[in-house]
Every structure is written in structure tokens, then in C-alpha cells.
Amino acid sequence: MRVFDSRLWLCYNAAARWAMERQRKRYGDVHAMLQVRNLHVSVDGQPILKGVNLVVRQGEIHALMGPNGSGKSTLAKALMGHPGYEVTAGEVTFKGQNLLEMAPDERSRRGLFLAFQYPVAIPGVSLANFLRTAINVRRKAADPDDKGLPIPEFRRFLKAKMDLLQMDHRFAGRYLNDGFSGGEKKRAEALQLAVLEPDIAVLDETDSGLDIDALRVVSEGVNALAGPDLGMLVITHYQRILNYIKPHFVHIMLDGEIVESGGPELALKLEERGYTWLEGKQNGRGSG
């Protein structure tokens, strides 16, 4: 097993951040794919998010950490446009457009992706059939005359993605999330991420409910997809997924606000000291 040297990573990371900062100063914030400003969200009239600020660019991996109930998943669902999550204030732009005006399917077709914490089952619909439909509705939205991806081509494409994630090809024939184990569900989400090739992906508690082996497999899959074209927001309760997926930025959410942002060292600090040292930081401004 490869031993990961965290100090080396920190150096690398600092360099990468410095490069990005410099680029931003020189060219303006052209890579700000997803920009969240002062976002307030209520669920059933109950305020959950209380002014979230966050910027995710292509090529960046952000980790969003925080205790249960701090609003992490609410942010994920609100970004994707879940009808039960009401935005009461703030704005979100995605590639310069107002994301909040778009229906969930439009957000998806424009390149936003959410890997669900609890993906629902769609019995009778095979993963392959589902993915082909998802690809074809995108193509159709881009070009109304599109006739859809030919099946042989789709099969080749899907197999390549499954190989990338080291998945058994037979998996694609199973009904979507129906009777899947926790690990299988998360791998299916990773496959969807791979196939749909979004610009920004939000991974909501992708590590929850996974044993250590499953966590490693899923994380390797996510790492295989990471690259200069994909920005990721990895939401997690535990630090352990960050042993596998290396973020450039770490944010800590408490009670609906991002109270602290920093580099990967923040996650290590959190592991050592827990969340208690951050109490009293509410109403501070998070920066991303």
C-alpha cells in the first residue's frame, strides 16, 4: 500500500493554491464555476442555512465538513434545486448564470452534479438504460435534432467508464439502486458522475455507510475522475474520506454557516481537536 506523506501534500497544495491565486489576479475569476453568496435556505419554514459563501472552480477539490445537522446536506440539495428546500436570501451563480432560476434538470444539463447521500431506488430501470436516457436528454437539449447516442457507441463508452472505476460490467444491467448495498449505491453514484461528466460535482456524504474497503474503492473511483475540468465539493462528516481524497480547500460548517476555511491542514486540525474549538465562530465570514 502506498503511504501518503501529508507534509509533502501540504507543500504541493500550497503551491497549487498560490498558482491559482496568481491566475485569478491576472485573469479575473474566470474559473469560478459555482459561486454561492450569502445563501439562506429554509426547510418547512425552519432556517437551516444562514448566509453561506463559497466559490468552487474547475480543477479544485473542496471538502465541506461539519457536525450532523450543521446544514451540509441542505446546501447540497439546495444547490441541486430540491423543491423542499426554499432559498430565502442570497444568490448562486453557475458559469455566470443564475442557478436558482433553473429547474433541477436544467442545472444537471448545464453541468452540475449531485452524488446523493441516500440515492433512491427506481425498480425496473437498469442502470445502463437510465444512463443512456440521461445522456440522450442532454444531447437533445443541446441539439433538438439529435437522434441519441447509438447503442453500440454508448456501450463502449459505458464500459470504458466502468473500467475506469474497476466495476464489473454486469453491474450496469441491475435495476437502479434496487437492492444495492451501501457500497454499491455509492459506486453507482460515482459511475453516474463518470458518465455524465459534469463541470462541478457535489458529493454528499459519499463516505457514510461504507466500510473501509468500500470507502477505499469509491474514493479511488472519485480520484480517477478528478482532474483539471472537474470541480468537486466533497461533503463529509468524518475526516477519514480525506485520507483518500485530497482536498485543496477545507471548509467547516457550523449551524448553517461556513465558519472556517483553509487548506488540508484544517481537516487534520479538526481531527485532533474536534469541532468544539470552533464554537463561538458563528457569524464570522467564511471565505472560499
Binding site: 441541486m80 434545486g81 430540491h82 423543491p83 423542499g84 429547474a103 433541477p104 434538470d105 442545472r107 444537471s108 444539463r109 452534479f113 449531485l114 446523493f116 440515492p119 433512491v120 427506481i122 425498480p123 425496473g124 430501470v125 437510465f130 436516457t133 440521461a134 436528454v137 442532454r138 437539449a141 435495476y175 437502479l176 453516474q192 455524465l196
Partner: protein, 469 residues
């Protein structure tokens, strides 16, 4: 009836029976059913006396039997306002202008080509089917298989016909079986000799001459020992007809060790009362499977039955109904275990939307002495909105202790979470709903011959698109 319809009818009969007498058609345009009309039908067909008498007895039973008070609302049927024969010819003569606008709109939404629309709406004939039928018939004849329309079956194989006809569903069975017995016309007559396996599904639409899919069709299938046949009737396309009553009877006799699968896909226009009696007898070690998909119609009442007469018989019923706006689908299944070690399985799926109503009505009966019998019943209902309705009436009569019975029922709705999940992958709401519904019926679609499976999926889209407009 239009002049041209008469012309077609005349030619048809002239060709089939060498009968040509324009004057006699005066009777044909009369509505309603009475002794004179029944005699006329029988005479037109040149039937033997026993059949004419059978029809007349059935007419008497039909008139005396009260309307069923259970199931759906039958009060809209006006028996006196129905033409009891010449239906098929009339159907072919329909005018595109008479096709209801909602059906045309649906075609528009789905982008179906012009030529195909006419066929779908029942105003155009399917070409080349005669040729296809001819080739298949030759192949079947070499195997000794009889595949005819039922009228020809009676004429060409009188003894075989009489031995089995109405043995499972006598006219006295129910009011609509009596009506069919009095007025029947068309349907399929099939005999498969011992040990013969008919590998390709036999499809009713191969016989798309004026005899196909009549209003009072009557089908009789006899599978001799150790044989196999899969019969497919109907068409996934919406069948537009101005006739308001479809009342069929289907009898299937599966002798020792044989296997019969009977697949029905029907999508009647929304004015039709679809009242069908289907019953099969499975003898020692035989298997009978009904795969039954009902879409469209105003009211469907249909409960395919399997009577397991001898040890080791197996009955399986896979039923699916789709109840849209203004529709009531009262469907289900009956299994009767009359011998030891028989087994049965009922799978029922219903979809209700836009105020439609789906009812599962089933009977599971195990007679005394049918030891070691097993049965499982699964009913799943999917409601697509709050206004729609689903009911389940599973009747169970067990007169034997040593049996294994399982029964499961579920009612589900398309969850907001399912829609959100699919939409988060780029499907719009309508596509997301279609996908959930498509998945729900997948276990049935999987059982269909491939071309029907493709059509069935399109049909679901059609139903959903039609209901949204």
C-alpha cells in the same frame, strides 16, 4: 353503414362463401339483437344447426340474466344500439376525419408518421400481412398445426371444434359470455398436435382480414399432449373503433404436459366497454400462462382464469392495467387448484393517473384434496396523482390444510424523491415520470415478444403524453 362498407362486406362474403345477394343486407344494418338477428348471423355463416341452436339458447340466457352489479358501472351500455355483426368491415371503412382529436393530438406529440397514424387509428389496413400469414400458415400446416379464424375452424374441423367449444365457458357462465355465445364472430381457432412445439409466437394480426378482432370474437385453443404454443393477440396501438362494446370469450385447453402462453395487449379507445371472459384448463403437468395488458377503454372487466385439473398443473397470470382519465380498469385473475401438487402465481400491476381507477379483483381457490398446492399472489399498484384510485379485492377460498399460500399487496406513489433524483440527472419531469412507470411495468414488458416490448414502452409514453395534454 355506408354504401362502401356494404360493398366490402359483400365482396368478402362472396369470396369466402360464394354468396352474393345484395337484398339480404337489409337486415345487416339493423341495430340490436334478437332471435331474427341471431338466425341471420348463423345463416350468413352457413353454420350447422347445432351452432344456430347454441346461439339461440345463449340469446335466451343473455336476455334473462341480470346485469352484474359488481365490478364497474355498466349502465352506459345500450344493447339495442349496437350492430352485432359486420364490425370488422365497418372498422376498416372509418374516416380519418372521424378520429377523435385527442387521439390525433397524441400522435402529434409523439411525432408518428402520417401513414402509421392512419393504421393506428384504425382507418388504414396493414399491408402485406396477408402474405406473411400465408407463409406462416404453410409452415404450420407442415407441423399439423391448425390456425384459422374461428368461423373457418367450425367449418373445416367440425368434430374437433364441437368437442371443445364452450366446454370451459358455457353460455350460462355470465351475461357477457351468453352475449358472446349468441353473437360471436371471428377470433382464432388453434390446434397443436401432440409433441409439437410452435417456436414463434402466433399472432392474431397475421390474420388481419375482415375476421380479425371482431367485437364478439371467440377464441379456442387446444394444445395437445406435450405441445407448446405462444399466442399473441391485440396490438399496442390504440384501437379506435366507433363500436362501444367489445365482448370476447377465450377458452384454452392445455392437455397433459403441454404449455400455453397467451399474451394480450389491448388499447381500446376511451368509449369502449371491454368485457372479456378468459378461462383455461391445465391438465397433468401442463402450464398455462396469461400475460394480459389492458390500456385504454372506458371500462375493462377481465379476470383470466386457470383451472388446474390434474396433479402438477401450473397456472400463471401476469396482469397489467393502465387507468387514465375517465377510465376504470377492473381486472385481475382467478386460479383454481382442483388437484394435488398444483401451483400458481399471480402478478398484478396497476397504474392509475389523472383520476383513473384501477381495481384488482382476484380469486384463489384450493379445493379439498388439492394437497401440496402452492400459490403466490402479488399485487402492486402505482398511483400517479392524488385524484386517482386503486382498490384490491383478493378473494381466497382454501378448503385444504396442506397448502402454501403467499399474498402481498402494495400501493405506491411516484415519490418526490424519485422525481428529484431523476431530474438531477437531466430528465425533465415528464421523462422522469415515464421512466418510473416504465420501470414499474418492466417485469411484464420483459415477458413480451421483443417487438411488442418496444411498442409497449412507446405506448406507455403515449398514455402519459395523452393524459397530460
Amino acid at each position: 353503414m355506408g354504401e362502401s362498407a356494404l360493398e366490402t362486406l359483400r365482396e368478402d362474403y362472396a369470396e369466402k362463401y360464394g354468396f352474393h345477394d345484395p337484398e339480404s343486407y337489409v337486415f345487416k344494418s339493423r341495430r340490436g339483437l334478437d332471435e331474427q338477428v341471431v338466425n341471420e348471423i348463423s345463416w350468413m355463416k352457413g353454420e350447422p344447426d347445432w351452432m344456430r341452436e347454441f346461439r339461440l339458447r345463449a340469446l335466451d340466457l343473455f336476455e334473462r340474466k341480470p346485469m352484474p352489479t359488481w365490478g364497474g358501472d355498466l349502465s352506459g351500455i345500450d344493447f339495442d344500439n349496437i350492430y352485432y355483426y359486420v364490425k370488422a368491415s365497418e372498422r376498416q371503412e372509418q374516416d380519418w376525419d372521424d378520429v377523435p382529436s385527442y387521439i390525433k393530438d397524441t400522435f402529434d406529440k409523439l411525432g408518428i408518421p402520417e401513414a402509421e397514424r392512419k393504421f393506428l387509428a384504425g382507418v388504414g389496413a396493414q399491408y402485406e400481412s396477408e402474405m406473411v400469414y400465408h407463409n406462416i400458415k404453410k409452415e404450420l400446416e407442415d407441423q399439423g398445426v391448425i390456425f384459422l379464424d374461428t368461423d373457418s375452424g367450425l367449418r373445416e374441423h367440425p368434430e374437433l371444434f364441437r368437442e371443445h367449444f364452450a366446454t370451459l365457458i358455457p353460455p350460462a357462465d355470465n351475461k357477457f359470455a351468453a352475449l358472446n355465445s349468441a353473437a360471436w364472430s371471428g377470433g382464432s381457432f388453434i390446434y397443436v398436435p401432440p409433441g409439437v412445439r410452435v417456436e414463434m409466437p402466433l399472432q392474431a394480426y397475421f390474420r388481419i382480414n375482415a375476421k380479425n378482432m371482431g367485437q364478439f370474437e371467440r377464441t379456442l385453443i387446444i394444445a395437445d399432449e406435450g405441445s407448446y404454443i405462444h399466442y399473441v393477440e391485440g396490438c399496442t396501438a390504440p384501437i379506435y373503433t366507433s363500436d362501444s362494446l367489445h365482448c370476447a370469450v377465450v377458452e384454452v385447453i392445455a392437455k397433459r404436459g403441454s404449455r400455453v402462453r397467451y399474451t394480450t395487449i389491448q388499447n381500446w379507445s376511451n368509449n369502449v366497454y371491454n368485457l372479456v371472459t378468459k378461462r383455461a384448463a391445465a391438465y397433468e403437468g401442463a402450464t398455462v400462462e396469461w400475460v394480459d395488458a389492458n390500456l385504454g377503454s372506458k371500462l375493462t372487466m377481465k379476470y383470466p382464469a386457470v383451472y388446474m385439473m390434474e396433479p402438477g398443473a401450473h397456472g400463471e397470470i401476469l396482469s397489467i392495467v393502465f387507468a387514465g382519465r375517465g377510465q376504470h380498469q377492473d381486472a385481475g385473475a382467478k386460479v383454481v387448484h382442483s388437484a394435488p401438487n398444483t401451483s400458481s402465481k399471480i402478478t398484478s400491476k396497476s397504474i392509475s393517473m389523472h383520476g383513473g381507477r384501477a381495481t384488482y379483483r382476484g380469486l384463489l381457490k384450493v379445493s379439498r384434496g388439492a394437497r401440496g398446492s402452492r400459490s403466490s399472489v402479488v399485487c402492486d399498484a402505482l398511483l400517479l396523482d392524488e385524484r386517482s384510485r386503486s382498490d384490491t379485492y383478493p378473494y381466497i377460498e382454501i378448503d385444504e390444510d396442506e397448502v402454501t399460500i403467499g399474498h402481498e399487496a402494495s400501493v405506491s406513489k411516484i415519490g418526490d424523491e424519485q422525481l428529484f433524483y431523476l431530474m438531477s440527472r437531466g430528465l425533465d419531469e415528464e421523462q422522469a415520470r415515464s421512466m418510473v412507470v416504465g420501470g414499474f411495468i418492466e417485469p411484464l414488458v420483459r415477458e413480451l415478444p421483443m417487438e411488442y416490448a418496444v411498442e409497449m414502452n412507446r405506448l406507455v409514453q403515449l398514455q402519459m403524453a395523452g393524459s397530460i395534454g
